[in-house]
């Protein structure tokens, strides 16, 4: 992609960060919900929370990244601003990258804050910042998932509702609270289809020395990259077909 298209993608990202980061759906789903979940778990079992921190960090990144995307694209469709972007000389791939990056950055930021706070509280190893890369990779994947969902929905409310249909099962089936290794075989197969499983599993390797991890670390990274690639391709194709219908 040419440099000028990448620059335009960044301008879209910067504008979205500025415009949407204080929108109510983002605050409630992207920030408050993960905090409430973490507090609820901590108050119930303060001793065990250290072992579920990788899952809570992954969950925070998931909600942060997808909440932004559901707000941004669905909202811009409603006010006609998406048409404004399509009128400008921006390629579909630059538009997709620009829109995905804001969600990925928000997911990464919220996930990293939880990771750093947990590291201070429980002395997790910093691993030369490797958890940051895992959170970033996961957030890119989750943001692309959010783009896919919001491209299919016309309204902000619909996008939020449908994204919850994906997010809540992921919390319970991706090893956030219960390690994948302790699940029944059918649930393990189901977990292997969810991108959050690999983010949480990789964080178990990096923060807990592999305790509760199910896949090798290299599998976690490779499958996460594959998920990001497949979701990017799917979102790009969907964008080509859906944008005309959404105007």
């Amino acid at each position: 992609m040419r440099a000028n298209q990448l620059a335009r993608a960044w301008h879209i990202t910067a504008k979205d960060i500025r415009t949407y980061y204080l929108k109510p759906p983002l605050i409630s789903w992207g920030i408050l919900f993960p905090i409430v979940m973490i507090l609820a778990f901590y108050l119930r079992q303060p001793v065990d929370i250290r072992t579920v921190m990788p899952g809570l960090i992954g969950m925070t990144a998931l909600f942060g990244a997808t909440s932004v995307e559901a707000v941004v694209i669905a909202f811009e469709k409603r006010i006609g601003a998406l048409e404004r972007l399509l009128m400008a000389p921006i390629s579909n791939s630059a538009l997709l990258i620009g829109k995905t990056a804001s969600g990925a950055l928000f997911g990464t930021a919220t996930g990293v804050i939880v990771w750093l706070a947990a590291s201070l509280a429980w002395g997790f190893p910093l691993m030369a910042g490797a958890p940051l890369l895992v959170i970033l990779l996961g957030s890119v994947t989750f943001a692309l998932l959010g783009v896919l969902i919001s491209l299919l929905m016309r309204e902000v409310f619909d996008a939020m509702t449908v994204s919850n249909l994906f997010r809540f099962p992921m919390i319970f089936l991706s090893g956030v609270f219960v390690p994948i290794g302790t699940m029944s075989l059918p649930l393990q197969v189901f977990a292997s289809l969810l991108p959050l499983s690999y983010t949480v599993d990789a964080l178990r390797h990096l923060l807990l020395g592999g305790a509760g991890a199910f896949y090798p670390l290299w599998v976690d990274v490779l499958v996460s990259v594959a998920f990001a690639g497949i979701l990017y391709f799917a979102a790009y194709k969907l964008m080509q077909h859906r944008l005309e219908e959404l105007l």
Binding site: N4, A7, R8, H11, I12, K15, R18, T19, I79, G80, A81, E83, R84, L85, L86, M87, A88, P89, I90, S91, E244, L247
Partner: protein, 334 residues
């Protein structure tokens, strides 16, 4: 304004059999039409005529089902990004970002069009001054009045100095004063040499601003000519304007049935009648108003207007222009 013969032959916009279907509905039907460089071409038709769909195809936002659109000779479908750098589009909705100020919106659009950093601020200041928005530069878009929003939306379309401007129903929803200001602005842009493709359902707007008028109904081009030439087609027909206390539906129906009257349009208490014979029409008007006990308050003859010509050409009346041609509605999209 230059006549048709005076154009230098360079085409800014060209449509060759341009067609767009939505399922079974043909929104735009084999349009063959061109606009010369520096021309203001009005694309006149009722709601649902396919005007917005046409602009979206010309702007590279949607792809034609059939046919070809060319901007400065460049195929829009094959080179949409190249085309988008040459054109500015003012959509029907003023769709800038409500959370950003007027200045921030223009800066953002300037970035999207790749204006160099050292030129952005100057260009934005220039446009804010040109559109008399300097004192509102730091007001959020959401807090601007409808007229100001419209002006800022036009300013945003001009940020990269396009030579071709598409205006989609620019005065719709504006109060009289704002609409008048906007028409003066459009006339100024035309004087500065921009090619302007203006869609409207307001016949008077097209007549006042356009070098040529293309009349489109149900996605089909009916006729394209200068307003003078369109009116001249019906010079042998006179028009009669009558003012009555309360024009009833019965009066309108009876007048429409007169053989001497070929069209009736209403504006408040005044009825404008396109007539083939002044004597016969006057006799019918007098007889009908007496029969219905409706006192005539004023009566005068006028030359045929573009509205009369439009009504004769399309068999539509002014109400159809506002409400949409029957049988061609597709939600809010044309």
């Amino acid at each position: 304004m230059p006549s048709d013969r005076e154009w230098n032959g360079m085409l800014a916009i060209e449509m060759r059999g341009l067609t767009r279907q939505y399922g079974p509905l043909v929104a735009v039907d084999h349009l063959d039409l061109a606009a010369h460089r520096g021309e203001l071409l009005a694309f006149l038709g009722p709601n649902g005529a396919g005007k917005t769909t046409t602009i979206r195809m010309l702007g590279g936002l949607i792809r034609p089902t059939k046919g070809q659109a060319l901007i400065d000779g460049i195929d829009v479908t094959e080179h949409p990004l190249e085309v988008k750098t040459r054109i500015g589009i003012v959509p029907q909705r003023s769709n800038l970002y409500g959370e950003l100020t007027a200045r921030e919106n223009l800066i953002f659009i300037a970035k999207l069009y790749g204006l160099p950093r050292n030129q952005r601020q100057g260009r934005v200041d220039e446009l804010l001054a040109q559109f008399t928005l300097t004192d509102r530069a730091n007001t959020s878009f959401a807090a601007l009045s409808g007229g100001m929003k419209r002006r800022l939306t036009i300013a945003a379309a001009l940020i990269h100095r396009p030579s071709i401007l598409f205006l989609d129903e620019p005065t719709t929803g504006l109060d009289v004063q704002s609409a008048r200001q906007l028409r003066a602005l459009i006339a100024d842009l035309r004087q500065q040499g921009a090619t302007i493709f203006l869609t409207t359902h307001l016949i008077q707007e097209a007549e006042r601003l356009a070098d040529r008028v293309a009349i489109v109904v149900k996605g089909r081009l009916i006729v394209v000519d200068t307003p003078q030439a369109l009116r001249a087609r019906f010079q042998d027909e006179s028009a009669l304007e009558i003012t009555v206390a309360e024009p009833t539906e019965e009066l309108l129906t009876k007048l429409s049935n007169s053989l001497a009257i070929t069209g009736v349009s209403r504006s408040g208490d005044t009825l404008r009648l396109a007539v083939t014979s002044l004597d016969d029409a006057l006799r019918d008007v007098t007889a009908t108003t007496q029969l219905l006990h409706i006192p005539l308050q004023a009566i005068r003859t006028t030359q045929p207007s573009l509205e009369d010509a439009f009504m004769r050409i399309t068999s539509l009346d002014a109400d159809s222009m506002r409400n949409g041609a029957p049988g061609n509605q597709r939600g809010g999209q044309e």
